[in-house]
């Protein structure tokens, strides 16, 4: 139980960030992370040797998915939080703050599965193989969801339909 503190504690901020990005609400995100940590403690003996990050993100992700399902069937909607202005403060960064707000709003329009891949890979720095483990999908599916997520977010950002150029070989090499 000593190693759990050593290995898991440094990952809690990232778990909170992922949870918040999925649900955009501090209270809900923290509840999810707390559930995740309780499960991690009680199932610590079941994890594999090595980096516990994919294992923890998988627990958190599955809890978040269940939460989505429940809130959808109950028809409840939590308020979506904006970024706290105090995190940015000065006027000089107001423009950046608006851009951040904007990209998060556009991110929330992506389908859940695409958003999850993009967050795990682009924000949480999980390898494609680890993201595949977290989501329990083949690595090829990670790549295609990542591609779709980026194309779609780009369309949202540019506000225009984007035509995929024809000269990129549409092969999927898996690393």
């Amino acid at each position: 139980m000593k190693d759990i503190l050593l290995l898991v504690e440094p990952l809690i901020p990232a778990l909170r960030r992922y949870a918040w990005a999925l649900v955009r609400n501090h209270a809900t995100a923290d509840d999810l992370v707390q559930d995740c940590l309780e499960r991690a403690v009680s199932r610590w003996h079941q994890r594999r040797e090595g980096d516990p990050r994919p294992w923890l993100f998988a627990i958190l992700h599955n809890l978040a998915i269940n939460q989505f399902r429940q809130s959808k069937t109950r028809g409840k909607h939590k308020t979506i939080e904006e970024i706290d202005e105090s995190d940015f403060g000065e006027d000089a960064v107001q423009e950046r703050k608006l851009m951040y707000q904007d990209v998060l709003n556009k991110l929330s329009k992506l389908p859940d599965d695409q958003r999850a891949v993009l967050l795990l890979v682009a924000v949480e720095d999980l390898s494609y193989a680890d993201a595949a483990k977290v989501l329990d999908i083949p690595i090829g599916t990670v790549m295609s969801r990542l591609s779709r997520a980026r194309e779609r977010l780009q369309r949202e950002i540019e506000g225009t339909a984007y035509e995929a150029p024809g000269n990129v070989v549409p092969l999927r090499g898996v690393k």
Partner: protein
């Protein structure tokens, strides 16, 4: 140039800085020659930076007290204490001959299946003792499975076959002999990609020599027990019975083909 063609995956790995240096150089060259693709890739990189920047403040916030890991570990330890007393009390009842606490009584006719009940209990005990063991959950590892089969078959005086559960996503970790009130039993342990473990316990049956698949549950574990031609089997794990049932069916099918 005899380079591999640049794929869509390469472009994403380029954005995510996940390419080997040589490949990265190849993509660099490709992007230089294809400004339209370069523009698209640059857009992805901007997205990535925006997302990271937008979410960075969340990870920098101080943690709320509810997410204090030491506290979570401590409160779990306190919660578990009374549970152990309850388990100890139940064990005493069992030893006293009450039996069957592990099984839902309505699922089995007690007179007909005392043997299977006992087997299911033994499997659950084995799971509880060995599955949480991080150091030595098994005595003989899967890499020496021939030796394991030989040992178990000799001691059980029966040909023992280790079920192959890879189609269900569970790999054999290994096994050991365990002592039961009804003699030696062979225990095989499996785990999946998430580290979830399963135990299959098998031993010759004095009673209940052939019994259909029967669910059982108790504590954190549940499972299925059955007996064919004098050999009893019980498969237990922490997954739900819906998940365990097809795995038990697969194990049964394989055991029958000995």
């Amino acid at each position: 140039m005899s380079q591999r063609p640049i794929t869509e995956d390469d472009l994403h790995a380029y954005v995510d800085d996940a390419l080997e240096p040589e490949r990265q150089a190849e993509v660099d060259a490709y992007l230089e020659a294809h400004p339209d693709v370069a523009k698209r890739v640059a857009g992805f990189s901007v997205q990535r930076e925006l997302l990271r920047g937008a979410l960075a403040p969340i990870a920098e916030e101080p943690l709320p007290p509810a997410l204090n890991l030491s506290r979570i570990i401590e409160s779990r330890r306190q919660r578990r204490l009374p549970a152990w007393w309850a388990i100890a009390a139940m064990l005493l009842l069992c030893i006293g001959g009450a039996g069957g606490w592990l099984l839902r009584a309505e699922m089995l006719a007690p007179s007909a299946s005392a043997g299977l009940v006992a087997l299911a209990q033994e499997a659950a005990y084995s799971y509880n003792v060995y599955a949480p063991d991080r150091v030595r959950p098994v005595e003989i590892r899967a890499s020496d499975s021939a030796q394991l089969v030989q040992w178990a078959s000799n001691r059980l005086h029966q040909p023992v076959k280790v079920p192959d559960l890879t189609t269900a996503g569970y790999r054999l970790m290994g096994g050991r002999l365990v002592a039961t009130a009804h003699g030696a039993a062979a225990m095989f342990m499996y785990d999946d990609d998430h580290g979830d473990r399963l135990v299959v316990l098998t031993r010759p049956m004095a009673t209940d020599q052939s019994q259909p698949m029967t669910p059982h549950s108790g504590g954190d574990v549940s499972g299925f027990a059955w007996a064919d031609d004098g050999m009893g089997y019980s498969l237990v794990g922490q997954s739900s019975p819906d998940i365990l049932r097809p795995i038990a069916n697969e194990a049964r099918k394989q055991a029958r083909t000995i």
